[in-house]
C-alpha cells in the first residue's frame, strides 16, 4: 500500500470514531448501553473481535506481500545498476567519448557522473572445479575501474573497487563465480565473436552496482559478468563479425545526483537535458533504466498486493458476513430489550448510535489486532513463497521480507472501516424493530403490500443496470457490469415480479437466472468477464454464484423441509438440529454464503491447478508447434543453423532472429522493452506455436502464420506481452487488430505493426513474433540469429540437447526440450497455486471459526430452550448431538454448494476455451474430497466445545435464569 493512500484512510477512520465518540459523550445513556453490551461478556466480545480481525489480517498481509515484492525487485537497483540512472546505447564506439563530453559539458546539477562501458553477450567456461562448467549467459564488460570507481560519488555502490583488469586477467562477478564454481586465480575461458580468450580471475566482485551490471533485457535476475581489459572486445572482433551476431555496443552511463534510488526521481528532466545536448538530429535514445526498474518494482508490488487482496477478498467478504451474522444474532437475543428501549422513548437513530458505540469497540480492537496478525500473515506468505520465487530459474527473485508502516496502519484502518460500515448497515436494519412485536417476541409479518417507492426504485435500478450493461457490452474493462448487470436488472424487477407471480417464485426466478448467468455469462459475452485480465472479475463471479445459489437453496428449503422432516422424524436430535437452520433462513443463509464462498475458491483453484498441471502434452505442443527443442545461444557468437542441423538426431532446425526491442501500443505512454523473434517460412511449415486468439478474418492459426511471413507489417504477440510485474493476470496491452509501434532501441527508428494473433503459451520468453524480413527491416543488426527451433527423431530429444550443449559451449548454447521448460513452469505455477490455496485457507479459518462463533452464540440464545428440552427428557448426549448435527448440516450444505459451483464453473470455463484451447477438464477428486472432508471435520471440531457446553446446561438453572 502506498504512503499517499494512508492519510485519507486515517482521516476517514478518525472522523468516524470522533463522530461516534461525540455521540458517546453527549448521550451518557447510549454510551452506557453500548459499552456495557460490549464489555458485559468479555469472552463473547473476544469471539466477535476474533471473527472480525481475520479480514484485517488478510488485507494487511496482502499489502505486506506487495511491500516485499516491491523491495525485492527494487533491490536490483542496488545489485544491477548502483549509481547508473540512464544509459545511452551507442552503435559506433567512436561516438561514445563525444557523447560523454557533451553530457559533461551540460554541468547539470542533477547529473553527478558520466562514463561508458562496453557490454556484450558471451559465454564462459572453466574447469576450476575439476569438471568443466559453462555459463552461456555471461556478459563480458569492458570498464575503466579508475574512472568509474568514483562514478556517482559513492564508490561502494559501484562495486568496482580496485584496478582495471590487465589483458589476460578478469574480475568476475559473484554470480559468474558461483555458476562456474571458479575463484581467484582460476582460469576461465571467455567465448565471443568466434574467438576464445583465456583469462585469470584476479578478483570476485560483489553483485553490486556496475559490478553486477545488467540491463535486465534478458529478464534474468543474475549478473554473470566478466570484466576484462579495455580493447579485449575489439581484439575479439578484429577477424570480423560472425554471421548472425550482434555487433558490440558502447553504453554511455549517467548517474543522477542522489542515492541509488533517489536519483531516478529526476530522470525525466535529465533525459530531456541530455537529448537537448545531443542535438535534434541525434537518433540516440536515452534509456531511463533506473526509473523503469523502480516503476516495474512498484507495478509488481501493486500487482502482487492486488492478487493476494483479490484472492483474500473472499475471506474478507466471509468476515463481513460473519460480523453481520453476529450482530443479527445479538439483536435477536436482545429483541425484547430493544423493544423496551424503543417503548421508553429511544429513537431508532439512538439504537443505531448505541450499536455503533458497541461496534466501534469491536472494530477498533479487531483493526489493531488484525493489523498485528497481518504482519504474521504477510511474513508466512513470504516465507512460503520465497522458495517458489528463488527456484524460478532465470526469472528467480530473492524475496526480502519488507513492510511499511503505511501497509500495517492502512490495513488496520481499512479493516476497522469495513467493520464500522458493516455494523452501521446492520444496525439500521436492526433498529427497524416493531416495538410490540419485539417486546412480545412475535413473528415479523410478511409485507402485505409492496411500497410504491420500492417498485419505482427497483425499476430504476433495472433500467440503469440494463443501460450500463448494453452500453459497455464487449468492453473488456467493464467486467463488473458484464457480471452483475443482468442479475441487477432482474433484482430490480423483483418487486414487480413479486406483485405478479408472488415473492417466492420471483426470488427463485431471479436467483436461478443469476446463477445460470454466473456460470455461462462469460461465454455469452464472448469472454467479457475475464478478457480484461482482472482477477477481481473472478471474485465478483464467485460472489454472484454463491449468493444466487444460496438464495435458491434457502427458497427451496420449504420444499425440501417436508422431506427432511420425514427423514428426521425418528431421530429427535436430527429433527432439532435441522429445525433451527431451516427456520432461521436469513442467518443460515449468511453462514452458508460465508462458508460456500471460501470452499468455492479453494475448490476452483484446486481444479484449475490440476487442469493446468495435467496439460503438459498440450502445453508442450502449444509452445513448440512442430518442434521439440528450443536452443538459445550467445548473441555475440551464435552457431549457424547448419551447425545445429549437423548434430546427430536433429531432423530440422529453424533459425530465429532474437533481441530486445521497444514497443509502444496505444495503451502505454512510453515505449516498453520486450523480446522479438524473427521467424522464417520453414518454421511455419514445420509447425509454429498454437495461437489463443486470432484477428478477425483468420480462420486458422496456419493462415495467421502464413500472413505473418508474407506481410512484414504484421506481428503475433504473446499472451503476457509487455507484462513485467507477474503475479497473475496483468494489464492486456494489445489485442488482435490493434496497431503498435516497434522501435529500434538504439536508433529510435520506428515502424508500425498490426497484431494478427496471440500465442497461447510462451515459456521461452520468445516475445513478439514477426517475419525475419520484418525484423531485419525494423532493427537491422540489433538482433542476432541466436535462437533455434529444433525437431528431432522420436525419443532422441534428450540425446540431442546433451549433444548441442556439449558441442557448442563456445557459442553459449543452451538447449532445452519444450517439455522440460513446460514442466518446470508448471511446477512453479502449481506451487504458486498451492500458495494461493494456503492463503485461502485463512478464509476457511474465518468460515470455520465463524461457524464456531455462531454456534457458541446459539448455545447462549437457546439456553432456556435447552433447559426445557432437558426437562422434557432430552438426554445431554442428544443435546450435544443436535448441535453437532446442526453445524454439520450447515457445513455440508456450504461445502456442497461451494464445491459443486466451483466444479461446474471451472468445467464451463475450461470447456469453452476461456483458459486456452485444447485444455481438457479434470476433477481432482482426491484433492476435492480431502479439502471438503477436512473442512467438514474442522467445522465439527469448531462446534465440539459449544455443543459440549450446551449438553452441560443444568435445566433448572436455564429455566430459572432469563438470560
Amino acid at each position: 500500500m502506498s504512503a499517499q493512500a494512508l492519510p485519507p484512510l486515517v482521516i476517514l477512520l478518525v472522523v468516524a470514531i470522533l463522530v461516534i465518540a461525540y455521540q458517546a459523550v453527549r448521550r451518557p445513556f447510549l454510551r452506557r448501553l453500548g459499552l456495557r453490551s460490549a464489555l458485559r461478556r468479555p469472552a463473547e466480545t473476544g469471539l466477535v473481535i476474533a471473527g472480525s480481525l481475520l479480514g484485517t489480517a488478510i488485507i494487511t498481509g496482502s499489502f505486506i506481500v506487495g511491500n516485499t515484492l516491491n523491495t525485492s525487485i527494487r533491490q536490483f537497483a542496488f545489485t544491477q545498476l548502483g549509481p547508473i540512472d540512464e544509459i545511452i546505447r551507442v552503435p559506433d564506439p567512436a561516438q561514445a567519448p563525444g557523447i560523454e563530453s557533451k553530457i559533461a559539458a551540460l554541468h547539470d546539477p542533477r547529473i553527478d557522473g558520466v562514463g561508458s562501458l562496453v557490454a556484450i553477450p558471451a559465454s564462459a567456461a572453466s574447469s576450476a572445479s575439476g569438471s568443466r562448467r559453462a555459463e552461456p549467459q555471461t556478459q563480458v564488460v569492458e570498464a575503466n575501474f579508475d574512472a568509474l570507481e568514483s562514478f556517482g560519488h559513492d564508490p561502494p555502490t559501484t562495486g568496482l573497487l580496485g584496478v582495471t583488469p590487465a589483458p589476460g586477467h578478469s574480475d568476475i562477478s559473484q554470480d559468474l563465480a558461483d555458476s562456474l564454481d571458479a575463484g581467484v586465480g582460476d582460469r576461465v575461458t571467455l567465448y565471443m565473436y568466434g574467438s576464445s580468450i583465456d583469462v585469470t580471475v584476479d578478483r570476485v566482485l560483489p553483485t553490486v552496482g556496475i559490478a553486477g551490471f545488467s540491463t535486465g533485457t534478458s529478464n534474468s535476475s543474475l549478473s554473470p559478468n566478466a570484466f576484462v581489459a579495455p580493447g579485449t572486445v575489439a581484439d575479439a572482433i578484429s577477424a570480423g563479425l560472425p554471421p548472425g551476431a550482434t555487433p558490440p555496443q558502447d553504453l554511455v552511463i549517467v548517474s543522477n545526483r542522489g542515492g541509488v534510488t533517489d536519483g531516478a526521481a529526476v530522470s525525466s528532466g535529465v533525459t530531456s537535458a541530455i537529448e537537448r545536448s545531443l542535438g535534434p538530429s541525434s537518433t540516440l535514445r536515452v534509456d531511463e533504466i533506473k526509473k523503469d526498474l523502480l516503476d516495474a518494482a512498484d507495478q509488481s508490488g501493486k500487482q502482487f498486493s492486488s492478487l493476494f487482496l483479490d484472492i483474500g477478498a473472499f475471506a474478507i467478504v466471509a468476515g463481513i458476513l460473519l460480523l453481520v451474522n453476529i450482530f443479527v444474532m445479538l439483536s435477536e437475543e436482545r429483541k425484547s430489550q430493544l423493544g423496551m428501549l424503543r417503548a421508553v422513548g429511544l429513537r431508532r437513530v439512538d439504537l443505531v448510535r448505541s450499536f455503533m458505540i458497541e461496534g466501534a469497540i469491536y472494530a477498533l480492537a479487531a483493526g489493531a489486532l488484525g493489523g498485528v496478525l497481518g504482519i504474521g500473515v504477510g511474513w508466512a506468505i513470504v516465507k512460503i513463497a520465497a522458495p517458489i520465487f528463488s527456484g524460478a530459474g532465470d526469472f528467480s527473485l530473492k524475496l526480502l521480507f519488507s513492510m511499511t508502516a503505511a501497509s500495517v496502519i492502512g490495513g488496520a484502518c481499512i479493516g476497522a472501516l469495513i467493520s464500522l460500515v458493516t455494523v452501521l448497515v446492520t444496525s439500521i436494519r436492526i433498529s427497524r424493530v416493531n416495538i410490540i412485536r419485539a417486546i412480545r417476541d412475535l413473528a415479523e409479518p410478511r409485507l402485505a403490500k409492496m411500497r410504491r417507492r420500492t417498485l419505482v426504485g427497483g425499476l430504476a435500478l433495472s433500467l440503469a443496470a440494463g443501460a450500463g450493461f448494453v452500453s459497455t457490452f464487449g468492453n473488456k474493462d467493464a467486467f463488473a457490469l458484464a457480471i452483475l448487470g443482468p442479475p441487477m436488472v432482474l433484482f430490480g424487477l423483483l418487486p414487480l415480479g413479486t406483485r405478479i407471480i408472488g415473492r417466492r417464485t420471483a426470488v427463485i426466478a431471479v436467483a436461478l437466472t443469476s446463477l445460470v448467468w454466473g456460470i455461462f455469462g462469460n461465454t455469452v459475452t464472448g469472454g467479457q468477464f475475464f478478457d480484461g485480465g482482472n482477477l477481481f472479475a473472478f471474485v465478483l463471479q464467485g460472489i454472484l454464484l454463491v449468493f444466487a445459489a444460496i438464495t435458491l437453496l434457502s427458497q427451496s428449503q420449504e420444499t425440501m423441509e417436508g422431506g427432511i422432516r420425514r427423514i428426521a422424524a425418528k431421530r429427535l436430535s436430527l429433527r432439532l438440529a435441522l429445525a433451527y437452520p431451516l427456520a432461521r433462513r436469513f442467518r443460515t443463509g449468511l453462514t452458508l454464503i460465508m462458508y460456500s464462498l471460501v470452499i468455492f475458491t479453494m475448490t476452483f483453484i484446486a481444479v484449475l491447478s490440476t487442469v493446468f498441471g495435467s496439460q503438459i502434452d498440450t502445453a508442450t505442443h502449444d509452445a513448440g508447434g512442430g518442434f521439440n527443442i528450443y536452443v538459445s545461444a550467445s548473441g555475440s557468437n551464435p552457431p549457424t543453423v547448419s551447425d545445429i542441423a549437423s548434430v546427430a538426431g536433429v531432423e530440422h532446425a529453424s533459425p530465429v532472429l532474437y533481441g530486445s526491442v521497444l514497443y509502444k501500443p496505444d495503451s502505454v505512454t512510453d515505449p516498453q522493452p520486450w523480446p522479438v523473434s524473427g521467424i522464417t517460412k520453414d518454421l511455419v511449415d514445420v509447425g509454429a506455436p498454437t495461437l489463443t486468439k486470432r484477428a478477425a478474418g483468420f480462420t486458422s492459426d496456419a493462415r495467421v502464420w502464413d500472413k505473418l511471413i508474407a506481410d512484414p507489417s504484421t506481428v503475433v504477440i504473446d499472451s503476457f506481452f509487455l507484462q513485467k510485474g507477474g503475479g497473475g493476470p496483468g494489464t492486456v496491452y494489445a489485442a488482435p487488430g490493434d496497431n503498435l509501434q516497434v522501435i529500434d532501441p538504439i536508433t529510435n527508428k520506428t515502424s508500425t505493426r498490426t497484431v494478427i494473433g496471440i500465442v497461447s503459451y510462451d515459456p521461452n520468453f520468445a516475445g513478439a513474433y514477426m517475419s525475419a524480413r520484418s525484423v531485419r527491416a525494423a532493427f537491422g543488426k540489433q538482433v542476432s540469429a541466436s535462437r533455434f527451433y529444433v525437431s528431432t527423431a522420436p525419443n532422441r530429444e534428450t540425446a540431442v540437447t546433451t549433444a548441442l550443449q556439449g558441442r557448442f559451449v563456445a557459442n553459449g548454447v543452451e538447449a532445452k526440450t519444450f517439455r522440460r521448460v513446460v514442466e518446470d513452469q508448471q511446477r512453479i505455477s502449481t506451487q504458486f497455486l498451492h500458495l494461493m490455496q494456503g492463503y485461502l485457507a485463512l478464509g476457511l479459518l474465518v468460515g470455520i471459526a465463524g461457524l464456531g462463533v455462531v454456534m457458541i452464540r446459539a448455545v447462549r440464545e437457546r439456553r432456556r430452550e435447552i433447559g426445557v428440552l432437558r426437562s422434557l427428557g432430552f438426554l445431554s448426549q442428544q443435546v450435544r448431538a443436535a448441535f453437532l448435527i446442526e453445524s454439520g448440516f450447515v457445513a455440508f450444505e456450504g461445502i456442497a454448494v461451494g464445491s459443486v459451483l466451483a466444479i461446474v464453473t471451472a468445467a464451463q470455463l475450461v470447456s469453452h476455451g476461456d483458459f486456452g484451447k485444447g485444455i481438457h477438464f479434470l476433477i481432482p477428486w482426491v484433492q476435492v474430497l480431502v479439502l471438503t472432508g477436512a473442512a467438514f471435520v474442522a467445522s465439527l471440531v469448531a462446534t465440539a466445545w459449544p455443543a459440549r457446553q450446551a449438553s452441560r446446561i443444568a435445566p433448572a438453572v436455564a429455566l430459572r435464569v432469563a438470560d
Binding site: R584, S871, F874, L875
Partner: protein
C-alpha cells in the same frame, strides 16, 4: 444449598412432603421462599444435597442423570410460566416431543399430539409456530405438551403468571378438569384464588413448609 458469591444459602430445609396419586397440590409463598426450587428438586431438574425424592417407589436422586432424564420423559409433564415452547417447532411438533422421547413411533406421536391439542381447544392452530400464537394459546400448547405423554404427575410453575385473569381462569379450569380425570398436579402460584382451586395448599417461607391446608 445455593452457592452464591457471598457464601451458601439454604434454599430448602427440613422438608417432608408426600403427594398422593391424583392429588392437586398448590405450593404458595412469597418470592424467594423456595417454591420453584422445591418443584425443580421434586421433578429432578435440580440436584439436592441431602434427602430423597421418591416417585413410584424409586429415589430420583439416586439415579444417574440419564436415567433421571428418561424418568422425566416417561412419568412427568411440565408447565412453565413463560410457556417455554420450542420456537422453531410448530404447536403439534412441540406437543409430540415427549411422546417421541418416550419412544412412540412418529405416526403415533403425531396422532396423539393432535388429539391432545384438540383436547385443549387448539386443533385448528396445530401447525402454527409459538410466536404466531397468543399467550393463552401458547400456554394451552404447553399444557398439551405436558399431558401428551400420559404422565404420572404434572409440575406447573406459575402457569397463569403471564396471562390475563380471564385466560388464567380458562387454563385453571382446564387443569382442574384434568385433575378430576385423575391427573396428579403440583402447581406453584402466588395467586390465592388459584391456590384455593387445589385440594391441598402448602405455604412456604425461607425454604420450609410453613403451613398445610386442605381446601376441598
Amino acid at each position: 444449598m445455593y452457592r452464591t458469591g457471598a457464601g451458601q444459602v439454604a434454599a430448602l430445609n427440613d422438608l417432608d412432603l408426600s403427594i398422593a396419586p391424583g392429588e392437586f397440590l398448590a405450593v404458595m409463598g412469597p418470592s424467594g421462599s423456595g417454591k420453584t426450587t422445591l418443584l425443580n428438586c421434586l421433578s429432578g431438574l435440580d440436584d439436592i444435597d441431602s434427602g430423597s425424592v421418591v416417585i413410584a417407589g424409586e429415589d430420583l436422586h439416586q439415579m444417574s442423570d440419564a436415567t433421571r432424564t428418561r424418568r422425566r420423559a416417561a412419568q412427568m409433564g411440565f408447565i412453565f410460566q413463560a410457556f417455554n415452547l420450542i420456537p422453531v417447532f410448530s404447536a403439534v411438533e412441540n406437543v409430540e416431543l415427549p411422546l417421541l422421547l418416550a419412544g412412540k413411533s412418529p405416526a403415533e406421536a403425531r396422532k396423539r399430539a393432535e388429539a391432545t391439542l384438540e383436547t385443549v381447544g387448539l386443533g385448528a392452530r396445530k401447525n402454527h409456530r409459538p410466536n404466531e400464537l397468543s399467550g393463552g394459546e401458547q400456554q394451552r400448547v404447553t399444557i398439551a405438551r405436558a399431558l401428551s405423554g400420559d404422565p404420572l404427575i404434572v409440575w406447573a410453575d406459575e402457569p397463569t403468571g403471564n396471562l390475563d385473569s380471564e385466560t388464567a381462569m380458562q387454563i385453571m379450569d382446564l387443569l382442574v378438569a384434568l385433575n378430576r380425570d385423575g391427573l396428579t398436579l403440583v402447581l406453584v402460584t402466588h395467586d390465592q384464588t388459584i391456590g384455593e382451586m387445589a385440594g391441598r395448599v402448602i405455604k412456604m417461607r425461607d425454604g420450609r413448609i410453613e403451613s398445610t391446608a386442605t381446601t376441598a
